[in-house]
């Protein structure tokens, strides 16, 4: 779990800083701009996220 005191948090997947323009909602899903992973907001004070369940694509497997 990653935390931060502002509307910014490190991506749990690639460690890129993910910044938000507003206060997110608990349970909101946000996306990392670097690796594209979806992160679920699990706490607000301080802001914390966890990897959200990912939709997997079947590329012909």
């Amino acid at each position: 779990m990653s935390t931060a005191t502002t509307h910014a948090v490190d991506c749990t997947e690639c460690a890129a800083p993910v910044t938000l323009a507003r206060t997110p909602l608990l349970g909101e899903v946000i996306r990392c701009g670097d690796c594209g992973v979806e992160l679920e907001v699990t706490a607000l004070h301080p802001l914390a996220v966890e990897l959200a369940p990912q939709v997997q694509e079947d590329w012909g497997e």
Binding site: E13, A15, C35, G36
Partner: protein, 344 residues
């Protein structure tokens, strides 16, 4: 008004020379004063490079008609620049040679990989290897820069952060490349009925670009195979690295960001969303990008690094113009900002 540098392109009728010409025609600080072709002398350059129609009225001249310039781009078949380097260096204070003639610093290595003695071995040390991501500071103000091998560039930029970190135990690089790597001269094997749809392994071992990687990344256990696929432009490199110590993806992100975060033409492409989630050469056509992505096999620890470039751009003309910008003290990205087409 800012000074405009006079550039001449020697061997401008090939694909590499044509791309240099295309880039320089849009360069605000360069005037193309000559483009040579023995075969096409007197002919408008757009008759050979039809994309340049109405962009220039330049005609090809013979190499003998070449006059003085501020910078020469040598886009000749391998072996030709080395034979005539004394003459060309008398015509211009700065030279960028796109051929393989001055890429290797060691004459013995040149002989081993090309099968021929170098015609001007005393000049080898005077050239800077022309990949700015490796030699930016040496290229600033340099007078002589070599070109880069397109396949070598895809590998060098894929592996550079791992090599610097001492992480490469063994690297097996599988490259898929486009038909323009074979150059402009036609051949029976390149005839459309033979070439179209083919997946053609053409250098499973022993490709000479391997020497450039070993020179630039240091001694690593490197293995290289190249397959020609249904592309005109493009190189896609999958480098399978067996690391010297376990590594996870988050630390690779850190490593690659550290290496390329400030690079103007290298992007990290490893995305959970979007259309192309790893580097895709198709969307890089005409651009100077090198896209790099990676993944770690959680079962075996193998690291797979994928890179993609346009072989004629980042793998040849684009890097050459980037070098010229550095050599002339210009903004490095000038005339190289085309972002590519989508869809294409």
């Amino acid at each position: 008004m800012s000074e405009r540098f006079r550039a001449a392109i020697v061997g401008a009728s090939g694909y590499g020379g044509g791309e240099v010409l295309r880039l320089l025609l849009d360069h605000p600080r360069v005037e193309v004063v000559a483009a040579t072709s023995r075969r096409h002398a007197g002919v408008f350059v757009h008759s050979v490079h039809p994309n340049l129609r109405a962009r220039t009225k330049l005609r090809f001249v013979t190499p003998d008609q070449l006059g003085a310039a501020d910078v020469l781009f040598l886009c000749l078949p391998h072996g030709e620049a080395g034979k005539a380097i004394e003459r060309y260096s008398a015509l211009a204070p700065r030279i960028v040679d796109l051929s393989a003639d001055f890429r290797l610093r060691d004459a013995a290595a040149h002989r081993r990989w090309s099968g021929e003695d170098h015609p001007a071995p005393a000049w080898l040390d005077r050239f800077v290897y022309g990949l700015p991501e490796l030699h930016r500071e040496r290229l600033r103000g340099a007078r002589l820069a070599s070109g880069v091998g397109c396949n070598a560039t895809a590998i060098n930029l894929a592996l550079l952060p791992l090599a610097r970190a001492g992480l490469i135990g063994r690297a097996v690089c599988d490259l898929k490349v486009g038909s323009s790597e074979a150059g402009i001269s036609p051949s029976a094997s390149g005839h459309h009925p033979e070439r179209s749809g083919a997946v053609r392994p053409f250098a499973l071992t022993g490709h000479r670009h391997q020497a450039e990687v070993l020179q630039e990344l240091g001694w690593i256990d490197l293995h290289l195979s190249i397959t020609s696929v249904e592309l005109v432009r493009g190189v896609s490199c999958a480098a399978h690295v067996f690391p010297t110590r376990p590594v996870d993806e988050k630390s690779l992100w850190q490593l690659y960001r550290q290496a390329y975060g400030a690079e103007p033409f290298v992007r990290l492409v490893k995305d959970r969303a979007g259309i192309h989630r790893y580097p895709e050469p198709k969307i890089l056509a005409g651009t100077n990008w090198c896209d790099v992505g990676f993944e770690v096999d959680g079962e075996t620890g193998r690291v797979v690094v994928v890179s993609a470039i346009d072989n004629l751009m980042k793998g040849a003309a684009g890097s050459a113009v980037q070098c010229m910008n550095l050599m002339l003290g210009l903004e490095e990205t000038t005339a190289l900002s085309f972002p590519g087409l989508h869809p294409i």
